[in-house]
Amino acid sequence: MIRAYRALLVAGFQNASQYRLSLFLYVFFSVLRPIIFLAAWVAVANARGGTVGSFSAADFATYYIALTVVLHLALSWNAYEFEFQVRQGRLSPLLLRPLHPIHYAVVENIVWKLFTVVALIPVLALTAVTFGVHLTAQPWHYALFVPSLLLGAALRFLFGWVVAASAFWITRVSSVSTFFDRIQFIFAGQIAPLALLPGALQTIAYALPFAYMFGVPADILRGATTFEQTLLFLVVQAAWVAATYLALQVVWRAGLREYSAVGA
């Protein structure tokens, strides 16, 4: 298994290094996006004389920088490719290989992230210089951020595969994934830090899995959580990962029985 992963990683890196420039451009501009809501919140803070709740402009900047890091490292996008593979029957040869198709996606994600993380640095530096930062994190925040990020990435990855596996039944998954992407847009901490979601929205956010993918690790990274809260978040994250993993097992088995390839 480890040897298979090493071989896939090497191949992935060689493949990716062909298109260095376009990869770099892609990342540079896609990480510009968090600045959009950051600028909006700073405008709101200015309209209120400097703060929204406990957030100053620098706190917003710190939050959105943390969120950019988390989004970059924890986001994965299997559903779009998987739909294509099922629709075109290209899944068939992958199923014949000794390795479960999910491992190819794992490797692809790792390669992409390692390859593009360099592009993050100038963007984050630019954001920090423009809006200022306000670091309140303790060393243990950073230490516990690592498992939180890994759990968030695993949760997003597995959740994406559950959605993608619906391709076995409906062949056009993009509407389904758009639906979940937009729910995530509201509740994962992208439009607002979780602490600023008003009333019921905040309750819903903590009841759904999306906040545990991005918003929660970002809050830990910027040092906004107490030690007890952080441990509780990690437990909830782990529970969601376990539940989603079980769901994927069920959906994948049922789906493979449904899969008929092209022409069958």
Partner: protein, 262 residues
């Protein structure tokens, strides 16, 4: 001119026929659009929970701006990006030859050949959001505001088109440029808020270097009663300059095209 309008009508009709062959997919895409617009409105409402105005924009004015954003993005998706995506494919595969041989302007053929019909739904939703904002400020709008809105919107669409044309023309030198369209998407996405909320360097970029921010902000300013005559004059000037530059750049790039077997 009438010849080009006739061609446009034919292209559009074939795309409608194509789209109608996949009706369930069409409905699913409309559903996605409703979801996207609804969540964006929700995001603006969350921001306005904490303040009555953002940089001088009220909630009603901000809704008008968001609606204009979806109209501009929707027309881009409907009429421009599908053709430019295929154009990049043509350059890479060398099949652009077939287009260059046709007896019509090559710029016209690569930029207005394909349409994504479901984006009509996005334009309609954008109009709906504009309407939701306008209801609250309708009393303050004069005929002059409506005219300057129409002029500014037309200029905004010219800016979107010319940016896409310039980015696509780069394909003649760099071949693999699909990722360059991300530049367009990322900068256009920034236009969902008024340009003036952004920090200096980004505001300058969005209004001069890549003048996509003003494509949405200026029409919305016209309806919100925030547009000075000078502002309208400058977007007209920028649009004309962008149009001339993009046309020249396209012809310049075309000279570098080598075809499939060269």
């Amino acid at each position: 001119m009438t010849r080009y309008l006739r061609l446009l009508a034919i292209f559009f009709r074939t795309e409608v026929q194509f789209e109608l062959a996949y009706r369930v997919n069409f409905i699913a895409e409309l559903f996605s659009l409703v979801m996207i617009v609804a969540t964006s409105v929700a995001a603006v409402l969350v921001l306005f929970v904490y303040t009555p105005t953002m940089n001088g924009w009220t909630l009603a004015q901000m809704l008008v701006l968001l609606g204009v954003f979806y109209i501009v993005q929707g027309i881009g998706e409907l009429a421009f990006t599908p053709s430019f995506e295929r154009f990049m494919e043509h350059v890479r595969m060398g099949t652009l030859d077939f287009i260059l041989l046709k007896p019509a302007s090559s710029q016209f053929l690569v930029s207005l050949r394909h349409f994504r019909i479901s984006s009509v739904g996005q334009v309609a939703l954008g109009l709906g959001v504009v309407g939701a904002g306008l209801i609250q400020i309708a009393a303050t709008i004069s005929l002059a505001d409506v005219v300057s809105f129409a002029v500014a919107l037309a200029c905004g669409l010219v800016l979107v088109y010319t940016l896409l044309l310039v980015l696509s023309t780069l394909a003649f030198w760099f071949v693999r440029v699909e990722n360059l369209l991300v530049v367009y998407q990322a900068f256009l996405d920034a236009a969902r808020f008024p340009v003036d909320i952004y920090p200096g360097w980004l505001r300058v970029t969005l209004s001069t270097v890549i003048p996509i921010g003003v494509a949405v902000t200026v029409p919305a300013q016209a309806v919100a009663g925030k547009l000075e005559p000078a502002g309208l004059a400058s977007i007209v000037a920028v649009a004309v300059a962008a149009w001339l530059f993009a046309g020249w750049f396209w012809r310049f790039g075309l000279r570098s095209y080598t075809g499939a077997s060269a």
